[in-house]
Amino acid sequence: MNVPPIVDALIRPGAITMSTPRTDPVPPTPAGPTATQATAPRGGHAAPALRRLVLVELRKTADTRSGRWLLISAVAIALVVAVARCLSGDASERTFQGAFELTLFPLALLLPVMGVLLVTAEWTQRTSLTTFALVPHRGRIVAAKLGAGVLLGVAAFVLSLASAAIGNVVGSIAGGADGSWSMSGDLLYQSLVGQLLGVLIGVGFGLVFVTSALAIVMYFALPTVFSIIRELISGIRDAMEWIDMNVAFEPLFEGTATGDDWGKVVVAATIWVGIPVAVGTWRVLRREVK
């Protein structure tokens, strides 16, 4: 059979200008595709506000069974730790601040994982296909995920406060506790900074390493490698204090950061937050979405 007749059929209309203005009224269509006037600009629908995209990202962290359990376990762990703190141990530490301080650590472990999952779930579950088809400016999605991460960090901070308060009340009722409500202002804001840095490191690692398992392993392994190097090579120990996030961020969770400590926080944050977020964003912007 001959193909040439088909090849004839390939002839396309060619370049046709579409600028001819319509003068007849456009009949209303009852349903389906909305009729738009020829003069109306295409894409007249506004882009979703960044605030709305942040809300969508937050909702995504809570609308799956695994995501919900991660959040529920975070709340449960904070409560258990805070109440346990106010029921046992040295009476002088059974305080609001003592309970608050203790809840910071488990949440500081969970927050980076949440930050990682905020990003990697898109790739492992392949929802990126929908996400980026609806919002083709991928930088806005990255920004929304960073925003959602910040809100998760704030939520964890509030959770620490709330569970510490509950713990302190329970401890006071049970007796034997100091029950003091005093709180160091430095600890408050510094721990908030610490938690925010943690979740943002998670988002950055998620952006760079793309798959959940790799990003989470890297988050726990890389800083440990740096700590080991710092211990082994005494000559660079001082320098490593600026690079090792375990050292640099530690004072934040005790509310004791002063002077030089802040310099270390800034340098370590640049290395562990700034660089991963920048490199990861660049990757996401260029990556083929399949």
């Binding site: 059979m1 059929a9 209309p13 738009t36 629908h45 709305r52 979405v289």
Partner: protein, 313 residues
């Protein structure tokens, strides 16, 4: 720019010009150009791996083309502020978070699109996923249900253009008939549909135009009538060998199809009929090759190029 209601004028809702995608030395898509007009359903046909999905991803801004451009409703996809309101996209029905319910997935999209939650329920209803199915996790959905959900998601923003990659995969015959009706109605109201498939019979019933791709290149593009013109005449006789001889004697070329029928390379059935009479043949069948011809055409168009590119690679 063109308007959606202008089905009478030529109106490119999707305009693809010279799209090319190379991965290293391998060209997955080479210089692909076609248009989809308002009020039409365009079938994008080709074997698996022909470049259909890559082309569609390039149109939707998910894959950066190596060369070429594309527009949807007159502008590049990336320039659409809220693309879901203009273009409904379904590229892979399985690309959903298995842990979310069907309703939740549509609710997330509705938030991005800025459409009301009542629209979510309407769409679930329209694709037959209302009630219990809507609150089940998508991980428990069959592929057919995922396709329905994906179509609901594509329709959610009330778009004028639909881009659907293999939407019939996993649908049962009833589901395929349902989807045909839905897409036909969408086009009849002035929308444009681009619908890919590797199976001709899935799209030929609903498509107005067919764009055939093989080995990353467009090998045929036209209306069904255009493509069938020259598809030939199908003839069957009691004596198959005598028929073949008679065709050859008449100076016509033919091919044996379906075992005992001949596909003669002429659109003039009368010529074939007279030839049969002169040869004293008893005919069992004499008609223009339609569906079967199209299928034959599709196979011949795609297999040759696919083999060629495989040999080159």
């Amino acid at each position: 720019m063109c308007d959606a209601a202008g089905a009478d004028s030529l109106c490119a809702m999707i305009d693809v010009v010279g799209l090319t995608k190379r991965y290293g030395a391998h060209a997955a898509v080479s210089d692909v150009s076609f248009r989809c007009e308002a009020g039409t359903v365009t079938g994008f046909l080709g074997p698996n791996g022909a470049g259909k999905s890559t082309t569609m991803r390039m149109v939707c801004g998910l894959t950066v083309p190596s060369a070429g451009t594309s527009t949807v409703v007159g502008v590049p996809y990336l320039a659409l502020p809220n693309p879901g309101r203009e273009v409904g996209v379904l590229l892979d029905a399985s690309a959903q978070h298995a842990g979310r319910t069907g309703r939740e997935i549509l609710t997330l999209s509705a938030m991005v699109l800025g459409v009301g939650r009542d629209r979510v329920d309407d769409m679930l209803e329209q694709v037959g996923l209302s009630g219990k199915a809507a609150t089940r996790r998508v991980g428990d959905y069959s592929l057919g249900m995922r396709q329905r959900l994906g179509i609901a998601q594509a329709l959610l923003g009330d778009p004028q253009v639909l881009i659907l990659d293999e939407p019939a995969n996993g649908l049962d015959p009833e589901g395929i008939a349902w989807m045909r009706g839905l897409l036909r109605g969408f086009a009849d109201r002035g929308g444009a549909v681009l619908l890919s498939s590797h199976l001709l019979n899935e799209v030929e019933a609903v498509a107005d135009r067919l764009v055939v791709i093989a080995g990353g290149r467009i090998v045929a593009d036209g209306t069904k009538a255009d493509l069938l013109r020259g598809a030939g005449t199908r003839v069957r006789a009691t004596d198959h060998d005598a028929l073949r001889r008679a065709v050859a004697d008449a100076g016509l070329t033919s091919e044996t199809v379906d075992g005992d029928a001949e596909l003669v390379a002429t659109d003039d059935a009368e010529v074939v009929g007279r030839m049969a009479r002169d040869a004293g043949l008893v005919l069992l069948e004499l008609r223009p090759a339609d569906g079967a011809g199209l299928e034959h055409l599709f196979l011949s168009l795609t297999s040759g190029v696919a083999e060629g590119s495989a040999a080159a690679a």
